[in-house]
Symmetry: C2
Subunit: 360 residues, 2 copies
């Protein structure tokens, strides 16, 4: 991808006034501009965002914020400083979009509304049931500050949600199916590790092939939890631990495993390290629906992901939406948004003309 | 789907002023409103649009326009009148969105810019190379009339384009693949029927399974035309025709067949009617791309369609975008748009709140 000047990047759907704003802000004689990004929280997702920024020539990492002692945090990008989160409030003139890389349980419900008072923000809030509440909180902050806050960006919620929406709008009479995996569930892996006698463990969620095939064949099956996914566990047990008991404890664990066909494999720490250290994931969103004068024709829309690294893919989606946040705010838009509210062209550094020519 | 009042339908992203406009225009005491649709051209696609409108409770078919004698055209919807195309100019107060169902070769390049002078329009213009020119023509008309014109809606261009765009924005370093089929190619079927000694024929475009698998496996193969698709022909020959000659003529036809591995099957008219009268289609859009500090992780994004009826599915996409055209114009937006320019929420009759709750 070629470097773009700000006026080119901001071409689509942008009023002359908005274009002027961004131009004034960044143009330096003889120098290309970038969208200046801050990363707030530096775990797997934060590192993924850092890598994704390097793949996008119109973006620049400006700062990483951490709750740890900044001295102890080593990042990948030369010349970029790590700050304590308390310093985030002082860099509003240096950062265009703050990407929040904390967890959905306790971090984001507080951090996203708080940071939206100062910055355009993007987060990956993924507690589906609490999205309406989170949206309201971010909306209030972002409207007050005149910023844009895009929440729940990633693949589910995110790309999977988008595909559910498009497919529902096209096939009005139909049925949705979402399958996850094959991939590592962090929550289920954590649950295994809490079992007595377990040193380490990893859990894969696996879609049942027969269920997938029935859906793809347009059979519109009613599927129970057990019929949709199986759970595969790889467990490192303590020396002399009661493996039969560990297996039984895992398989009967309510909420996590008892509703599924679960297999438990005992392996060595070395084997776990060698074969199960990645964080792959993925899944399938399928809608099966009918059209015609008598609904006589069936259609299948399928979207699937096969990801070597769950956090790096999520980060790549987030970074594209950071571009959208920047451009929408430059146009004068404010408040909370989700992937549903954003025209796809905003995600691309290319102009509308280029997109129509090359991708339509 | 429940019927919606106009204010509910128009809830998302709409200014109070815009909402007032649509409210004034339609509200009748105690009666629900609909988006009033006209169909311009009544072939396979027009009939598909008619069926799709019946599946969307917030829409109403108001009129069908034809170049034929209207008396000779029988439609499926009771109480809706068929008019000659010349009457289209007189119904601007009765139709909110005109859906153009003509062909891309000669109809749409003229009709869409013409009708955009009077109506919000949606078309399925699919001559990829001429999209920039068509966009400009429709943009000019629609800006002058203060209407919205959404062009190139369907599945390719359309849903496939959207998936190419999203996938390109997420996986910056990657490779795109589009496979078509298994499905009927009208152009290739027509070409078969022009061969001497052929009474009737149908051609299926079929993706090569090995090519698809190599792409899905992240092997990023360089594929020739021949390696991506095969062509299967079902041909009804005249009595006593030289079948060997017909087969050779088809297989060597430049542009259509000579670059492909083509099979020719001779069958009876009855068999053609019985087994090959449908218009199925579909295909696959796949992007394979890399992320990580050293681009060490691979990801596959795949979108696929399996359609019993190509025109009915295309029509279903178009009808969802007709809703968007109506709502965008109610907000005061004008000019040409493509699927790239339209936020997904505009396609749905549900409010932003409902969408976040149910589909995000």
């Amino acid at each position: 991808m070629l470097m773009k000047t700000n006026s080119e990047v901001s071409d689509i759907n942008q009023s002359p006034v908005a274009r002027q704003v961004s131009f004034d802000k960044y143009e330096q004689k003889g120098k290309y501009m970038s969208i200046r990004i801050g990363i707030y929280g530096y775990g797997n997702l934060g590192r993924g965002v850092e890598c994704a920024i390097r793949q996008n020539d119109d973006m620049e990492l400006v700062a990483v914020f951490t709750r740890r002692d900044p001295q102890t945090v080593k990042i990948l990008t030369d010349g970029v400083k790590v700050y304590h989160v308390d310093d985030a409030k002082n860099m509003t003139d240096k950062i265009d979009v703050m990407i929040l890389c904390g967890g959905s349980a306790t971090d984001l419900p507080v951090q996203t509304p708080e940071l939206a008072k100062l910055y355009n923000v993007v987060d990956s809030f993924d507690t589906h049931a609490k999205i309406p509440e989170h949206f309201e909180n971010v909306d209030k902050s972002a409207k007050a500050s005149g910023k844009v806050g895009i929440i729940s960006v990633g693949w589910d919620p995110g790309m999977f949600s988008l595909n559910r929406l498009y497919a529902n709008c096209i096939l009005v009479d139909g049925k949705d199916y979402t399958f996850w995996g094959k991939g590592v569930s962090q929550g289920h892996s954590d649950a295994i590790r809490r079992v007595e006698g377990v040193i380490n463990g990893k859990q894969y969620t696996v879609p049942v092939p027969e269920a997938l095939e029935a859906v793809r064949a347009g059979k519109n099956p009613e599927l129970t939890t057990r019929q949709k996914h199986t759970r595969e566990c790889f467990v490192v047990a303590e020396d002399g631990a009661d493996k039969a008991k560990i297996e039984k404890t895992i398989k009967n664990m309510p909420n996590y495993f008892s509703d599924y066909d679960t297999t438990v494999n005992f392996i060595s720490e070395e084997e776990l390290e060698k074969n199960h250290s990645g964080i792959p994931h993925g899944g399938f969103v399928i809608r099966s629906g009918k059209t015609g004068a008598n609904l006589e024709n069936n259609h299948i829309i399928e979207y699937s992901l096969k990801l070597d690294s769950n956090p790096e893919f999520t980060a790549s989606v987030i970074v594209a939406y950071a571009r959208a946040a920047y451009r929408l705010n430059n146009e004068g838009q404010i408040g909370a948004k989700t992937v549903f509210d954003i025209a796809p062209a905003y995600l691309s550094a290319k102009s509308g003309e280029e997109l129509r020519k090359s991708l339509l």
